[in-house]
């Protein structure tokens, strides 16, 4: 048993860290956020040149053919850099769904374009009921056409095609399709944008059945957790640096246990989220029996942890942490958006309950309380 990165994984992570530090520094993130640009096409091309846009997809579609662990290491570094734009939604969500449900011909047509960096995409999943599991989905698909509305669709305005989850299957809609309209849903996160997407008798290509959607969404969820971990790590680093430098009462505030212990908790929360993200990725890669449970546990834990880490980070920064020019709020905004995305802790606790409580209750009904 060896729960650590191997040499090539370590190299991938280090390279990604250097890449994002060089190509996407905070000044660039701020520039994109403040000029309301959803993403940087030049940066996208460079990411594609690194193979990042095809990291987990088969080589026959021009992907790198690496595993889920490699995917989450990349997302962790993207999260640390607060990479703006549709990388997660294109690769870890839409790409993973296409890979899971579509035919070989469709993958050659769509997935290969994602791998080569020629196309951006996203998944339209949630409707007005705000369920993350299609339980309340009512989008109508008939005769190759979609009618209805999807909400909270990330990056929809830059998507070249949108993958749509409907009760009757998974579809793909080209950006230019008639009857498709994309409306911004202005929200907290300034570096990744949400849209409402309306379909009015919009032509759509069916990719496959919804049965394999859950597994793809688990991959997307683990990748999102990894991205959250990267953000937490950055907030922790900024906060510890600040606590060493900022002086009050003649000494660095990091000397005070009221501050120090909050930093220790941030460390615990970040490391524990990281353990969970790595484990979930490994379990998904190997189709372990607990892969779905592990993914929900990771999202449950990290959803609460990333909020807590952000709160502590800003608290320790005092007034400076509340200021617009400080980078913390950009991370704080992303953390809140990611906390909700694909289900918050409450959603995933219920999912865990269905996976681990219900089978037991069903089999032991009115058990004897004293028979341990």
């Amino acid at each position: 048993m060896q729960f650590g990165l191997n040499e090539s994984q370590e190299i991938l992570k280090q390279n990604a860290r250097q890449f994002f530090a060089g190509e996407c520094p905070m000044t660039h993130v701020r520039h994109l956020a403040e000029s309301k640009q959803p993403y940087d096409p030049a940066l996208w091309s460079k990411m594609a040149a690194q193979g990042y846009t095809g990291i987990i997809f088969p080589e026959k579609y021009d992907g790198l053919g690496l595993g889920k662990v490699e995917l989450i290491l990349l997302l962790e570094e993207a999260g640390r850099a607060l990479l703006p734009g549709p990388f997660w939604s294109t690769v870890a969500v839409a790409g993973a769904v296409i890979d899971a449900v579509a035919s070989d011909a469709q993958k050659t047509k769509y997935l290969a374009r994602i791998c080569r960096g020629e196309a951006r995409s996203t998944l339209a999943l949630v409707e007005a009921g705000a369920a993350w599991d299609l339980a309340d989905a009512s989008l109508v698909a008939a005769n190759g056409r979609l009618t209805g509305e999807k909400l909270f669709v990330l990056d929809a305005d830059v998507a070249d095609f949108i993958v749509v989850a409907a009760p009757s299957g998974v579809f793909l809609v080209e950006a230019q399709a008639p009857g498709l309209s994309v409306t911004p849903m202005p929200a907290l996160d300034l570096t990744r944008h949400l849209y409402a997407v309306q379909f009015k008798d919009t032509p759509a290509e069916k990719l496959g059945e919804g049965a394999n959607l859950t597994r793809a969404l688990n991959i997307a969820t683990a990748a999102l957790v990894a991205e959250m971990v990267g953000g937490m790590q950055r907030v922790l680093d900024l906060t510890v640096d600040y606590a060493k430098m900022r002086k009050q009462f003649g000494k660095p505030i990091g000397t005070f246990q009221a501050v120090q212990h909050q930093c220790a908790d941030m460390y615990l929360e970040t490391e524990s989220s990281r353990s969970a993200a790595y484990y979930a990725a490994w379990a998904l890669e190997h189709d372990a029996p607990d892969a779905a449970t592990a993914t929900s546990i990771a999202k449950m834990y990290a959803s609460d942890a990333c909020r807590a880490v952000g709160n502590r980070g800003i608290q320790i920064h005092g007034g400076n942490g509340f200021a617009w020019e400080n980078d913390l709020h950009l991370y704080y905004r992303r953390a809140k958006a990611s906390e909700t995305m694909l289900g918050d802790a409450t959603f995933h606790r219920e999912r865990i309950a269905r996976l681990v409580i219900d089978p037991v209750s069903a089999s032991c009904g009115g058990n004897d309380r004293s028979s341990r």
Binding site: T293, E350, R369
Partner: protein, 395 residues
């Protein structure tokens, strides 16, 4: 990253598993409710059996009679012990802390004299570290040892000595030089608990049992050959001992928590809440799922930490997050149990209405000590703040 056991690890596990299946006493479940004192000989016999089977001293090198297991095998050992519901070993501190300290710092004569009897549970050991006025600030301890010819003469008072009421020997930290900075005047002695001048008083704790004792020393004469390591360098020896406290034992603890969790999930089906099964109550489901998830995160944190220790060879200060995580988690788990069981949660085993012979009432009280024993949560957070994050010392 490969989270499967290697074929070597699997072989070790299978061998141990079949040995345990054949040897774990069947009546342990009934005897676990008895007081520590009354079942001590039973635990001693169990350790003896492990020793004869070659399984005592799992981390100890083979040349000292141990099992010579590598780190991952030690992890497997504690997991399998928990999975087999095996009783604990009588000489917990001797095996886990003091033996390894003697192996690391002791003389050949000391190794020959003490180690075999630790393994066989013939001699039980306790630690004399904490004092009434030296807990978290251990280095400020005041028990003094004055040199007198070929002896040290010890005077002072120790407290919270686990197994102090039964121990034959004690790893004692004393002050041998009061005129130097506090960390630099300490020495570790091996003290025969039957020496004249030692008096032991069991310390009754919140649960009503006496796991611990107070030990006082009045002109106790200890031969100088019983010094471990160098005189006035006892702090290094003591820290070496405490590092073992955050070892692989936690792997078994995780399994115990998981079993408690599984039992709570079973119990939830038999309790009612708001007119339906508690297992269907949204709030109870949320709380159980949260605990279930955290117990898994504890396992994954441990797996990462063990792999890191395996790679680097030393348990680092990051180990402090394991201690904080399991201790605070167990308190939350016990509280969730209380909420689920409602008024039944408080019942002792002697009540005919009790659940699981009162273990939940006991567990609630016992878990209160988890964030205090083996380094308080506050000290663990100091360790992370200073040694991991590099923040200035706060004291």
């Amino acid at each position: 990253m490969d989270l499967n056991l290697t074929s070597e690890e699997m072989q070790f596990r299978d061998e141990l598993r079949s040995w345990l299946a054949a040897h774990v006493p069947a009546d342990w479940a009934e005897r676990r409710e008895e007081s520590l004192e009354s079942r001590f000989e039973y635990l001693r016999a169990w350790q003896r059996k492990l020793f004869e089977g070659g399984w005592a001293g799992v981390s100890w090198p083979k040349q000292y009679g141990g099992c010579g297991a590598n780190l991952m095998q030690q992890v497997i050992f504690w997991q399998e012990m928990a999975l087999a519901s095996a009783p604990p070993m009588a000489n917990t501190l001797g095996l886990g802390l003091i033996g390894p300290t003697i192996i690391a710092f002791g003389t050949e004569a000391q190794k020959t004299r003490y180690l075999a009897k630790i393994l066989s549970a013939e001699e039980i050991w306790c630690q004399g570290f904490s004092e009434p006025n030296a807990g978290s600030d251990l280095a400020s301890l005041q028990t003094e040892a004055r040199r007198d010819g070929n002896f040290y003469v010890v005077n002072g008072q120790k407290t919270w000595n686990s197994y102090g009421w039964i121990a034959d020997w004690c790893e004692l930290v004393v002050r041998t030089d009061p005129n130097v900075p506090k960390h630099k005047g300490l020495t570790v002695l091996l003290v025969d608990m039957k020496s004249q001048g030692i008096s032991v008083r069991p310390l009754r704790q919140i649960t009503g049992e006496s796991e611990f004792a107070e030990v006082s020393f009045r002109d106790v004469r200890v031969p100088i050959e019983n010094v471990v390591g160098n005189v006035n360098q006892g702090w290094d020896v003591a820290i070496g001992t405490l590092m073992h406290e955050r070892g692989t034992f936690g792997a078994g603890l995780q399994i115990t928590f998981r079993r408690n969790m599984e039992r709570l999930i079973e119990l939830a089906a038999g309790f009612e809440r708001n007119g339906r099964s508690a297992a269907q109550d949204p709030l109870i489901r949320q709380k159980l799922a949260q605990c279930y998830g955290e117990i898994e995160v504890m396992r994954w944190n441990q797996m990462r930490a063990f792999s890191r220790i395996n790679a680097t060879g030393v348990p680092g200060p990051e180990g402090s997050i394991q201690k904080i995580f399991w201790s605070e988690l167990n308190q939350r788990l016990q509280q969730v149990a209380q909420e689920l069981l409602g008024p039944f949660g408080q019942l002792a085993g002697s009540s005919e209405h009790s659940i699981d012979k009162g273990i939940w009432a006991y567990g609630y009280l016992r878990s209160r000590g988890n964030t205090i024993e083996a380094g308080t949560s506050e000290i663990q957070r100091n360790i992370i703040g200073h040694f991991v994050l590099g923040l200035p010392r706060s004291y």
